[in-house]
C-alpha cells in the first residue's frame, strides 16, 4: 500500500524540503515506521517516548482526524493521503 504523506514546513528539513512524500504501510503506525526508515528522525517528531502521537500533532487520513477514527491503527489504503499538521492553539 502506498500513501501520499503531507509534511508540515518544520519537518521538511528531514525530507529534503519535500512537502509530499510517498510511504508504504497498511495503517498509520506502519506508515510512520516507513517514513522513519527513509527520513530518520521523523518518528520521534511525530510520536512521544511512549509511542503515542504527540498532543500538538494532528494526523489526518484524507480529511478525517485519526483521533476520531482508530488512531494509530487506522487502516490506510492505496492512494490515500495522510496529512501531518501541527495544532493551532494558544491563549491569554
Amino acid at each position: 500500500m502506498a500513501a501520499t504523506v503531507r509534511i508540515p514546513t518544520p519537518l521538511r528539513k528531514l525530507t529534503n524540503d519535500k512537502a509530499e512524500v510517498e510511504a508504504e504501510g497498511s495503517n498509520i503506525e506502519s506508515i510512520i515506521e516507513n517514513l522513519e526508515a527513509n527520513y530518520a528522525g521523523i518518528k520521534e517528531r511525530i510520536c512521544d517516548e511512549a509511542g503515542n502521537i504527540r498532543r500538538f500533532v494532528n494526523i489526518y487520513l484524507n480529511d478525517e482526524d485519526i483521533r476520531f477514527l482508530d488512531g494509530k491503527t487506522t487502516a490506510v489504503n492505496d492512494g490515500d493521503e495522510v496529512s501531518i499538521i501541527p495544532a493551532i492553539a494558544g491563549g491569554r
Partner: protein, 156 residues
Amino acid sequence: MLELRHDTTSEIYAHAMEEFPNECCGAIMADGVREFVRRCRNVQNERHAEDPETYPRDARTAYLMDPDDLIKIHREVDTEGRKIKAFYHSHPNEDAYFSAKDKSDATEPWGIPNYPDTVYVVISLYDRQINVARAFSWDESTEDFVEVPIGVAGDM
C-alpha cells in the same frame, strides 16, 4: 506590516464579540486580491472537560482550533491556491499581547515555528467592546515573535 481589508477586520471583531466571554479563533485566507475570514471552532472547552489535567484551561483563557476546521483551511490552500495570511484569536478581558502560551503553542512540539510565514492576530476586548488588535510574526534574527503594525489595505 500586516495589511487587512476593512471588511476582514470587521468580521474578526464580530467573531470575537460573538464568542465572548470565550476566546474565538480563525484564519484569514488571501489570494492576492481578496481576503476570506474562516471562523473556526474553539474546542478548548471539550478538551478541558475530557481531560482537565492535560488541558487545565477552558475556552475563556485558551483556544484550540478544531482540527476539522484546520484541515479545511489546508484544503483551501491546496485547491484554491490561497495562502493563510494570518491566524487570529481573541483575549477576552485582556490586552492584545502575544502571551507565553501563544508563543509556546506556536512552536509546539518541535521548538520552531509551525507557520514561520503566517502572522498571528490577537484581538483584545473588554465585555463585548473591542479594545485593540495587534499582530505578531516570527523574526528569524531574534528567533522570537515580534509585533508588526496592522494597516488597512487600500489606504495610501
